[in-house]
Amino acid sequence: MNVVIIDYGAGNIKSLQYAFNRLGSSAILTNSPEKIKAADRVIFPGVGQASSAMKMLQKNKLDHLIPTLTQPVLGICLGMQLLCNTSEEGNTKGLGIFDTQVKQFSKNVKVPQVGWNTIENLKSDLFKSINDKAYMYLVHSYYAAINYQTIAHTSYDTIYASALQHNNFYGVQFHPEKSGDVGAQLLKNFLELD
């Protein structure tokens, strides 16, 4: 299985690579369109702030490539948010795979949300062998609004989409690579998708 992690800037993507190693798999970091196109699985991680991350994607012309991919793609954290239509963070236009908006948490809660929260109403093979209300690790100040593509939701300030799916595109707000054994199961499921 040929897994690539899209490398388009700074940040902690080593953890993701290690998470695949722990599954007995391996993943390469790359920003090469050829390698990304040829991969069996593509991981689209998130780094820092939405508008600057989008600029980094554009610089590498990855904003055009990603929506054309046909193999299973997993957006993580900001990666998932960039697959949505728009983000309030820096008024960013997203890649429009997920038909929803990314909004900022209100001042009623502490921002960022940091820590372990439950994912509920799980609706995808991505969650095979994972219990409803399993705990996942999250760190974020913006969230995707619930829509018809929502495959898991989480409550913080409001009920929001903590996972989305559209065809071969999957997105998770939490960090599976940092979510203990449950997170590892999710990554394993992603590798085993039909």
Binding site: A10, G11, N12, K14, S15, Y18, A19, N21, R22, V47, G48, Q49, K107, K110, V111, P112, Q113, V114, G115, W116, N117, T118, Y135, Y137, V139, H140, S141, S155, Y156, H175, E177, K178, S179, G180, D181, G183, A184
Partner: protein, 251 residues
């Protein structure tokens, strides 16, 4: 529901854990990776590594340690100690740290908080504050709590938030090492005036102290070292008791 976090803290020197650790069955109590694994398996929600190395050479060993921890541990961890530049943070994050914490360097050059937050995102920038209550006023200290600054805890915490910190790790020097409980009054004041998460540190001795830090101190997370290292409190027992007291935890 977002749960309250329990965070063991490990002091690191020259890539090894220091201070005695009293765990049965550890092959090497000084090996940070083995300890970190142990804590992750017990249900720790995060880990903090505090680098107390004095030399550059020792610090480079810490980078190797961070790589090894990231390779083997599947929960988040923060690295603090001796960080004073964007380049320092870049190296740590690239080695696999999830968050970094800065302390004295933030006091000496507050703009560093803005710079780090803008470069890496506020989610990975924790500002640690050591403070001591002197004649009724909480005074921020630097250099591991050795040197008093002119800063008031609550004003400094507000500034730290405004400059873009994602989280505050507050250690009460009056409570640290006493095992008499956390500084809940100051914690509560911090938590109600700030809109970022607060980690309570200093004073943990009993399970009740943790309950109080969440109920009275309104902390989002509680950090401790020796009570965990010496097995005086085990994480599964602690979390069970927190749950019995209506505090949301990951079990």
């Amino acid at each position: 529901m977002l749960t309250k976090r329990i965070i063991p803290c490990l002091d690191i020197k020259n890539g090894r854990t220091v201070k005695g650790v009293n765990f049965k069955g550890l092959r090497d109590a000084g090996d940070p990776v083995e300890l970190a694994k142990r804590y992750a398996n017990m249900g720790a929600d995060e880990l903090v590594f505090l680098d107390i190395s004095a030399t550059l050479e020792e610090r480079n060993t810490t980078l190797d340690m961070v790589l090894k921890v990231a390779e083997q541990i599947n929960i988040p961890f923060t690295v603090g100690g001796g960080i004073s530049s964007v380049a320092d943070v870049d190296r740590l994050l690239k080695s696999g740290a999830d968050k970094i914490s800065i302390n004295s360097s933030a006091i000496k050059q507050p703009a560093l908080i803005n710079e780090l937050s803008n470069t890496f995102g506020n989610q990975c920038i924790t500002v640690a504050i050591d403070a001591k209550e002197i004649n009724g006023e909480w005074i921020v200290h630097l250099a591991g709590g050795h040197i008093p600054s002119k800063l008031n805890l609550f004003e400094w915490a507000k500034e730290v938030e405004r400059r873009g910190a994602g989280e505050i790790l507050f250690t009460s020097m009056n409570n640290d090492g006493t095992k008499l409980g956390f500084a809940n009054k100051a914690l509560g004041q911090l938590s109600s005036t700030l809109n970022i998460p607060i980690i309570a540190s200093g004073g943990a001795g009993t399970i009740q102290h943790f309950i109080d830090s969440f109920k009275k101190g309104k902390a989002d997370a509680a950090l401790a070292a020796s009570v965990f290292h010496f097995n005086e409190i085990t994480i599964p027992a602690l979390k069970k008791e927190l749950q019995n007291n209506g505090i949301p935890v990951r079990l």
